[in-house]
């Protein structure tokens, strides 16, 4: 089994030059950074807030905040990691405003019923995606990931959907590396178990008595 490798597909080499130019007042350089990362920020924001209007606000607020604080960016991390950190904080604030009854924090470990060794070990169909239409599949994937606690959902989205490294995810979320790994493992296992309800291989005689 080959390892899963991934990267945010943009070249980083000219990124620092864009950031330097934007710092020096070149607003077109900043617009290029917006173009480069607006889709990612929108996706992250929508995953965390689960609300389209909130996600739109987060995109605007995160870029504006990064523009205002560009001088604080020292270049020790990638600009994208720094931007994601700002965007995640904005998105969590939205979530807290909408759900004041439940404080949302990425710091606390969440115990869930599905934390132990997986129970659903039925194998999946060879091409589970093809059992459903595109729209049905999106609905299944959306509902499944929305069921995860925000702290698991966010780690999964940054690592596995957006392709940040474990170290970058830790930095963006202000978590330790072991905390990121622990949440990622549990998020992956819980999603797998929930998707198994849709994708498991149907036994040919399952309806027979």
């Amino acid at each position: 089994m080959t390892a899963i490798q991934q990267n945010v597909g943009e070249p980083v080499s000219d990124e620092l030059a864009l950031v330097q130019a934007a710092k020096a007042g070149d607003i077109a350089a900043f617009e290029e950074l917006v173009r480069r990362y607006d889709r990612n920020v929108f996706r992250i924001a929508q995953h965390i807030t689960q609300n389209r209007e909130d996600a739109e606000d987060v995109v605007q607020d995160a870029f504006l905040k990064s523009y205002e604080n560009l001088q604080q960016f020292q270049g020790q991390s990638k600009f994208y990691t720094w931007l994601v950190r700002i965007a995640v904080n904005e998105a969590l604030m939205k979530l807290r405003k909408r759900r004041p009854e439940r404080m949302v924090s990425l710091d606390e470990e969440v115990k869930t019923e599905e934390d132990s060794v997986p129970r659903e070990v039925a194998d999946w169909s060879p091409n589970p995606e093809q059992q459903y239409t595109q729209a049905e599949l999106r609905d299944i994937l959306t509902r499944t990931i929305q069921g995860l606690p925000p702290s698991f959902r966010t780690v999964f989205v940054l690592r596995d959907v957006e392709g940040l490294s474990t170290e970058e995810t830790a930095e963006a979320l202000d978590l330790s590396i072991p905390a990121v790994k622990s949440r990622l493992l549990r998020a992956r296992l819980q999603l797998r178990e929930r998707l198994s309800r849709y994708f498991q291989k149907r036994e040919s005689g399952e309806n027979a008595q």
Binding site: M1, T2, A3, I4, Q5, Q6, A22, K23, G25, I27, F30, E31, V34, R35, D38, R39, F42, R43, Q46, H47, A55, E56, V59, Q60, F63, L64, Y67, E68, L70, Q71, V117, P118, V121, A122, D123, W124, P128, E129, L137, R138, L141, T142, I145, F156, D160, V161, G163, T166, K181, L184, L185, R188, L189, L191, R192, L195, S196, F199
Partner: protein, 85 residues
């Protein structure tokens, strides 16, 4: 290696960050433990399905609108003199 130990290392295994010896132990476990093989394989598929799903794509018209709004606000900041110096 027990199944619980295998699961502890599953994320490291899928991310390809294990040393050669631990990786060999895990693959030895996978060779005979069908449950762990299925969990490992379907977890990998889970990640791939989400990565390829393109959930929450940003439509171009919304993208343009958001970018215009962002750049207008940045311009205003710049003019008001609170831009990065």
């Amino acid at each position: 290696m027990k199944c619980s130990e295998f699961l502890q290392e599953l994320t490291n295994y899928l991310d390809g960050v294990l040393d050669a010896r631990t990786k060999a132990e895990l693959e030895d476990h996978l060779a005979w433990c069908h449950n762990c093989y299925v969990v490992c394989d379907t977890t990998k598929k889970t990640i791939e399905i989400y990565r390829d799903s393109q959930l929450y794509a940003l439509p171009e018209n919304l993208r343009d609108r958001l970018r215009s709004a962002i750049m207008a606000k940045c311009q205003a900041r710049k003019k008001s003199g609170s831009e990065p110096v």
